[in-house]
Amino acid sequence: MSSVVLKNIVKRFGSYTAVHPSDLEIQEGDFVTLLGPSGCGKTTTLRMIAGLLDPSEGEILIGGKRVNDVPIHKRNLGIVFQNYALFPHKTVADNVAFGLKYRNVSKDEIARRVEEALNLVQLPHVGGRYPKELSGGQQQRIALARAIVIEPDVLLLDEPLSALDANLREDMRVELKRIQHQIGVTTVFVTHDQSEALAMSDRIVVMSGGRIEQVGTPEEVYNRPRSEFVANFLGASNILDGVCRERGAETATLEVPLFGTVPVPQDKAAGISDGPAKLVLRAEKLTLMDARADITGMIAADATVETVDYQGQTVRYFVRAGDRSFQAINMINERPFPEGSAVKIAFRSQDCAALPG
């Protein structure tokens, strides 16, 4: 188990810069997720930590030691690849034992640890089979067993769940978190799926266009986004251009069209100053109400329902208020508002965040 530190790391492919200067510190034992859309440099970053790519600039430290010049086979990392990368010509047991053969472990010890690892991933009886005889989810577990049996300093996973179907993915999510918790290994997990990141991580590193946008706990990046990109990538947000009038000890007061003044809690308005500012209204926090409903304690505006996207427990509305459209995701207990109906859209000021304009 070790910490991972990236110091001013850069990766260029020819004239194209895939990762711009980035700093990152990962604490020992943490589960950290690199989250961002496809092509934002997550895999490139992970492969630099792994030693599969050389950084163009900067330093990588694992357990406090600079590893830039340490080849991959001496880094003692467990890697789980997106396509599993199980050796098709070796049995499951031989796959899992592979890394132990390079670690001065006796035969008996190898057998014992392979069995232990297969138990940990809850597939104790498949050792004699070949990878292609297993289902996708089972192969995934074997790939994980193979990576952790060597007791790696850091576990690296590149979109390990994306090849699984939706139900299995949710099971594996829980499973993976349980195993990581049990062995306590420092883990770097790559995904483009925000719900995966929110559910599993101790900390999330949101990336975009080869840059780190924000680092924080799931709760922090979700509730206190530091950029428009983060606000939109983690769930849907409505972003309103406004002006910051006043910054007090408790709140920063924003003035936005349609809703008037909104007192945003200070901790959700970090980094803004007087002058232009943006108000972030999460779609889940924007509630549709009957046009005559009591809205005491809330900030509201009149709106018309344009589109209703019914999803069972929840419904996603697109409503028009003034000259713009808003997105709202609401729980429903009876029937959703029909298209064309006149409603109020309302929110509480403490559910908002503010960004520099």
């Binding site: 080849p71 990368a85 592979f98 890394g99 390079y102 670690r103």
Partner: protein, 288 residues
Amino acid sequence: MSVEAREARQPWILLSPALTAVGLLLFVPLIFIVVYSFWLRTASGADQVGFFLDNWQEALTDRFYRDILLSTLRIAAITTLVCALMGYPAAYFIARSRGNKAILLLLLMLPFWISYIIRTMSWINILGVSGALNTALMWTGLISEPIQMLYNEPTVILGLVHFLLPFMILNVYVSLDGIDQTLEEAATSLGANRWEAFLQVTLPLSLPGLAAGGLLCFVLGAGTYITPLVLGGPSDAMFANLVFEAIITQLNWPLGSALSLMLLAVLGLLVAIYNRYLGMAQLMKGLG
């Protein structure tokens, strides 16, 4: 007719022109050869029609034929081995190169645009008494008289390797290209260095391609008569030269037929063994 029956019939309808061509051009002549091998060439030079076992008896009992068959198989085996040792690294290089794969493969095909006979004869201009190599060595003063380098077994093998190497490279390339590169990455991440990762993962997974290339080199090498004719000496005749000799020089079709069927049987057995263990599909991948 049911839909299934029609669907089952369709491939055969589509294949029928090809099957007809193969039937007429391959199987019919083959039947002629089988029939011929039981005829007898009389002292007068005319063929006597009938069912005689004389040719077969001569082919199977004469030590001369046996020795040449064995030396043919030996030369084919050495050629195959050399092709494997030279071809594998080349195929690996092509499979792992990033942008210019297409150009490298095109370069590999380039020799096929020139007749195999001409390619073989080109060695005379390189290794012959007044060839490039002798001229160069004389010029440097290392030798004062030209050396005869041609017309021996090594030059026959050289010519065969020159002819067959692309087949080996292509077959190995196809199987290497199909191997997921993350497998090697996974192996190195688990502690194997690059060489160990190659031995543990890439090499075993590419063996089918190596076997297919080997079979092709062996069968084509063992069946050739041009290379020994052009680059070999009088004692370097291979089995196909005997067939050539019997049919073209002596006009003894019955004996030539028996000899060619003998070679066919030996090579056919080899293909059958290969097919039993690895299947023809792999060979087809490398050819297409």
